[in-house]
């Protein structure tokens, strides 16, 4: 299998840190907005920060909407990060946006008290509620870096592989078949984050 990792660029944030993390782990990264390159990728990272509505509009305009779904259907590994972990669900409450529907469920606003800080920004622990290859060698409860105001709410509980507490627990990592996704930023979570990313790069579902 090719060592190359394809990173989807749909103008939703800065991809430099994801690319540098992939390179640090000894792989080459191809950042692309090309639908055919996404379809033929051997390993795909779907990152992103920003608003769900704008992201989905751009994905559709670039024909990446269909390309990511086609890629996911091949059974090859896909990692969603942050916004990329949200828009793989069916619907986002952010801007009432229909999403890619690779996994059943919705994206909901974090439920926090009036005075609480939003976004949820900083380092927080992830409880590994289910085994998954991305957790290999990662201590349960390890801290990761988060920046977000919405979070995944998958339809089936069995999809959740990580939970995080911010005024109540939310799903911070989820997986089904060849798709795995994390609300946190593994590329910005130090050595432990790089371990999760490396686990994904070695994963052959």
């Amino acid at each position: 299998m090719s060592d190359q990792v394809t990173i989807v660029d749909y103008h939703a944030g800065n991809l430099t840190s994801v690319r540098l993390a992939v390179e640090k782990l000894g792989r080459t990264a191809n950042i692309t907005s090309d639908a055919d390159e996404v379809r033929s990728a051997s390993r795909l990272i779907f990152p992103g920060v920003g608003a769900a509505g704008a992201a989905m509009s751009t994905l559709e305009a670039l024909d990446l909407h269909a390309a990511i779904s086609d890629y996911a259907a091949t059974g090859r590994p896909l990692l969603g990060i942050c916004l990329g972990a949200q828009v793989i669900l069916e619907h986002s409450d952010e801007g009432d946006t229909p999403c890619l529907a690779l996994i059943e469920g919705r994206v909901v606003r974090l439920q926090v008290p009036e005075a609480a800080k939003v976004p949820h920004m900083g380092w927080n622990g992830v409880e590994q509620v289910r085994d998954h290859p991305i957790w290999a060698g990662v201590e349960d409860g390890s801290p990761f870096y988060f920046v977000h105001s919405y979070a995944p709410a998958p339809g089936e509980e069995s999809v959740a592989i990580g939970l995080t507490d911010y005024y109540g627990r939310f799903v911070s990592a989820l997986a089904r078949d060849n798709v795995v996704a994390c609300q946190f930023h593994p590329e910005r979570s130090g050595r432990i984050g790089l371990k999760v990313l490396d686990n994904f790069l070695r994963w052959n579902p």
Binding site: T16, M121, E139
Partner: protein, 259 residues
């Protein structure tokens, strides 16, 4: 549980880390890339690089520092100093920074916050704010005024009003530096930090005055700050990052202890 962030600030002038007291008397303390790597390995939660007084011709030196740092450290870092346009912001973000810090430029042109947030997301935009205690007046009801131009010039703005306005314009965080406390190592200015922290819903980073771990405990609890910025405490080897974090943990402040 969300932990309180410990952020190390590196003032960079012509490719060297410097440290001044009250914005004067800067002395070189080391290579910013090596220092960044060391703090990363010691478990710092975030870094910020401020370009101090570099002439436009020297901007490429900072960009080189940003690129080298980005290839070596995998935690969030911000870059500030002399960013006046969204084009300036884009350059440092593409070089690998996660956030940009704007200060004087945002006071002169508040739309820079709006445009930066629209193009890169609010999470990228840190508003740097220099606060000076001036006493309450009609123009400055909180008693703290915003200063600009390297904290030399009064902006005629109340810090509380500016903080709320910046949040409304789309700033993602506020880094509040007390001019009075900066470089004294006598402790953060708790009153103004708490005032801002309670006035906005975006995270507040306290800056200026850290000399010992107890000062961080104070500002992260009584001062209601979400993060504490330090510089000379660690630059001169008086404390290490793990020492500070262990001290905070012992006094009940939630911090990241594994990395």
């Amino acid at each position: 549980m969300l932990t309180k962030r410990l952020i190390v600030c590196l003032d960079v002038r012509e490719g060297k880390t410097t440290k001044g007291v009250k914005f004067q008397d800067n002395i070189d303390v080391g290579d910013p890339v090596e220092m960044a790597q060391r703090y990363y390995e010691e478990g710092v939660d975030e870094l910020v690089f401020y370009d101090i007084g570099a002439s436009p011709a020297k901007k490429d030196i900072l960009m080189d520092v940003v690129r080298r740092v980005a290839a070596r450290i995998f935690i969030p870092f911000a870059v500030g100093g002399g960013l006046r346009t969204t084009t300036d912001m884009r350059r440092v973000l593409l070089a690998g920074a996660d956030k940009v810090s704007i200060d004087t430029a945002a006071v002169r042109n508040p739309n820079l916050i709006v445009d930066g947030a629209a193009q890169f997301g609010s999470q990228c935009i840190v508003l740097g704010m220099q606060a000076k205690r001036v006493g309450r007046s009609e123009a400055v009801p909180s008693g703290y005024e915003v200063y600009v131009e390297g904290a030399r010039v009064a902006a005629g703005l109340d810090v509380l009003r500016w903080a709320r306005q910046a949040e409304a314009l789309g700033a993602g965080e506020i880094c509040l530096n007390s001019i009075d406390a900066d470089g004294t190592e006598g402790g953060y200015e708790l009153e103004v930090t708490r005032m801002i922290g309670e006035a906005v819903r975006i995270p507040v980073i306290a800056s200026g005055g850290a000399g010992e771990p107890e000062h961080l405990r104070q500002v992260l609890t009584e001062g209601k700050a979400d993060a504490a910025l330090i510089a000379s405490m660690v630059h001169f080897g008086k404390y290490s990052i793990p020492e500070i974090k262990r001290s905070l943990a012992r006094s009940g402040v939630p911090v990241r202890l594994t990395w």
